[in-house]
Structures are given as C-alpha cells and as structure tokens.
C-alpha cells in the first residue's frame, strides 16, 4: 500500500495533533506550494529529504515509433528529484532487511 495525501493528513492529525480539516488543507497546500514554486522556475530544497530541481532540455529530433514518421521533440523544462544524503542513508538502513531476504 502506498502513502497518499489522505494518509499523510491522518498522520498529521494523530501525531502532530492538528485537527482534521487543517491537516487536510495543510497537506494539499504543501504539495501545491512546491508545484507553484517549480512552475515559476524556482527549485525547492527540503532538508532531510531532497531537492526538486529544474532542467531545460533542448529540442531534438524524434520519431513516431509506430509510423516511423520524423517528429521533432520540442524544447522542454522538466523537474528532477535528487534525494539528500540523509534520506538515502535512511532508506539504505531501513531496507537492509529487504535486501537480505532477496539474497
């Protein structure tokens, strides 16, 4: 089961004691603020988690794989996520058992 906005809000209510309405609003606004910031061309740095960065890609020749027709791929701006050291370390430690099981 994946973590969703509803569960994050529930967690805020249970662990941080923020009432359910505020918790739901706060979770929604948190992700919306990250989106708006990126949309405005500003990167987002969340210490303890990672950085959302922007990359600009130049246009390049592309092709429709079905028809073989040449279609240029236009210049675009994309978002990439770089996990921070702390998150990478937490994931490595936390998933060590999963790795053991796979051996």
């Amino acid at each position: 089961m994946a973590l969703t906005k509803a569960e994050i809000a529930e967690h805020l209510f249970e662990k941080a004691g923020i009432n359910k309405t505020d918790a739901k609003d706060l979770v929604e606004s948190f992700f919306e603020k990250v989106r708006t910031t990126l949309e405005e061309g500003e990167q987002v740095k969340l210490s303890g988690f990672g950085n959302f960065e922007l990359r600009e890609k130049q246009s390049r020749p592309g092709r429709n794989p079905k028809t073989g027709e040449d279609i240029p791929i236009s210049a675009r701006r994309v978002v990439t996520f770089r996990p921070g050291q702390k998150l990478k370390a937490r994931v490595e430690v936390g998933t060590a058992q999963l790795i053991e099981k796979e051996k």
Binding site: A2, H11, L26, F30, L38, R76, F81, V91, G94, L98
Partner: protein, 107 residues
C-alpha cells in the same frame, strides 16, 4: 543587471521559506502548527520510503525505490577496489499535472 534572469538561474526555496509561505496562507493556524506540520509531512514521507513503501500523490508524482545491484567500486583517491552492497535508492516520477505545469507553454 537582469533581476529576472538571476532569479531564474539560481533561486531555491528552502523548507523554512515554504513554512513561512504556508503560514501566510493560514493566518489562523499557529505558526508552530505549520512548522510542525511541514516537518511531519516530510518525515512521514521519508519514513515510508525507509520502510520500503511507495508514495503516490495525485497531480504531483510518485516516489518509489529503485534497486541497485551489488558492485565493485573504486576509491577514487587510492584506486583501491571496494565491495559495494546491493541497495535501494529513492526515485521520483513527476505526475502529469506537475509535468505540464513545469514545462514551457506548448504552442
């Protein structure tokens, strides 16, 4: 000086700036709650990934783990080989809405 260009090239929003922006949006919420809230959201996400689970935020994107096979690496300073264990690394795939909003307007 082109302020717009400078802003575009290097500006980064930090966690504390994000907290300030949200606090302004919710003047009725104590700033302590906003601060605790943002920190809890981030911690909840990190904890989920550390437990080997996925995160799915509609319109934003999903976080999952990618497997990295064990390999023999090299210490760049000494040239000595080092055995690197298999591991999982966090991966983010932006959702459709985020991708479209971040991209340049398409004609």
């Amino acid at each position: 000086m082109n302020g717009q260009l400078l802003f575009y090239l290097g500006e980064k929003m930090t966690k504390s700036e994000l907290i300030e922006a949200l606090a302004e949006k919710y003047p009725n919420l104590p700033i302590k709650d906003v601060e605790l809230g943002v920190k809890s959201i981030i911690d909840n996400m990190a904890e989920t990934l550390a437990a080997g689970e996925r995160i799915e935020i509609r319109g934003f994107g999903s976080f999952s783990l990618h497997y990295r096979a064990p390999r023999v690496g090299r210490n760049p300073k000494t040239g000595e080989s080092v055995n690197l264990e298999a591991k999982y690394v966090p991966h983010f795939k932006p959702g459709k809405e985020l991708r479209e909003r971040v991209d340049f307007p398409q004609s």
